[in-house]
Symmetry: C2
Subunit: 158 residues, 2 copies
């Protein structure tokens, strides 16, 4: 989508050797999400998905020391089976605004000869949020989580 | 939609003697929006509509003294022809989060014998925002604008 503010985005993209339909399953089935969504040694201890615009997207993470991170749930904005997902933490389920919006993530899963071109474009409201997110380890975190997703997806193929 | 936080909403509802398809046109055609959207003696001097999820919804108002109020544009979240529109100012066009989110509005146009049951449910993030919006004259403002909408819609029928 054309957007004059793309320098406020962080973009992660990589080709992975699993088909889009399995990437899609990993992103949309709670029982799979908990297996890959948070880079080790943290883990996802709860995931909830109501896959329609305005429906809930909620994950709860736990550190190795047992610290639980349970942010308010976000919601889906676009759902295009096997190819595109958009979610935001700026709106609660049912589209209610919430304080301190941080990101909208646009995920695209494009079928390519090798498998899937996996792209996450993460949009922020200002430079400060973008820089904070980069410093939190955006690139490393999305890469480590994607490695875990590929491991889960390969188990589905077997 | 079920939502445990409905006491953060303001709701305006009234039956009007014009059919849903004309109410819909008044809400979605910029040339009509500028004729009714802002209660007199203020006026709407610009309206922009890209009627799809993530598409722009933008209006600019002007006071009788020439003071221009041009808030950042919002975007549509749901578009169900002739019956339901959802928009928010929490996301810019293309779904980018913005600072200081205030409202999401759910508009429903239900066909009834007399014409249209017109309902606006406006959702806030907290009590303070709800109270501020009520004090700004929510009920009166939506009523005055709707009277203007009905006037415009009747002209379309003629």
């Amino acid at each position: 989508m054309a957007d004059a503010a793309q320098d406020l985005d962080l973009v992660f993209t990589r080709v992975v050797a699993v088909p889009p339909r399995l990437v899609w399953r990993c992103w949309t089935e709670p029982a799979l999400l908990v297996r890959w969504f948070t880079p080790h040694p943290w883990k996802t201890i709860h995931a909830e998905v109501d896959l329609r615009p305005g429906g809930i997207f909620h994950t709860v993470m736990e550190s190795p020391e047992g610290q639980v991170m349970d942010e308010p749930p976000g919601c889906w904005l676009e759902v295009v089976p096997h190819s595109r997902l958009v979610w935001t933490d700026a709106l609660l389920p049912g589209f209610r605004p919430r304080p301190n919006p941080f990101v909208t993530a646009v995920l695209t899963f494009e079928e390519v000869a090798e498998g899937t071109r996996y792209t996450a474009r993460v949009m922020h409201k200002d430079d400060a949020d973008r820089e904070r997110h980069a410093a939190m380890g955006f690139e490393h975190g999305w890469g480590a989580a994607l490695d875990q997703l590929v491991g889960v997806a390969r188990g589905l193929e077997a």
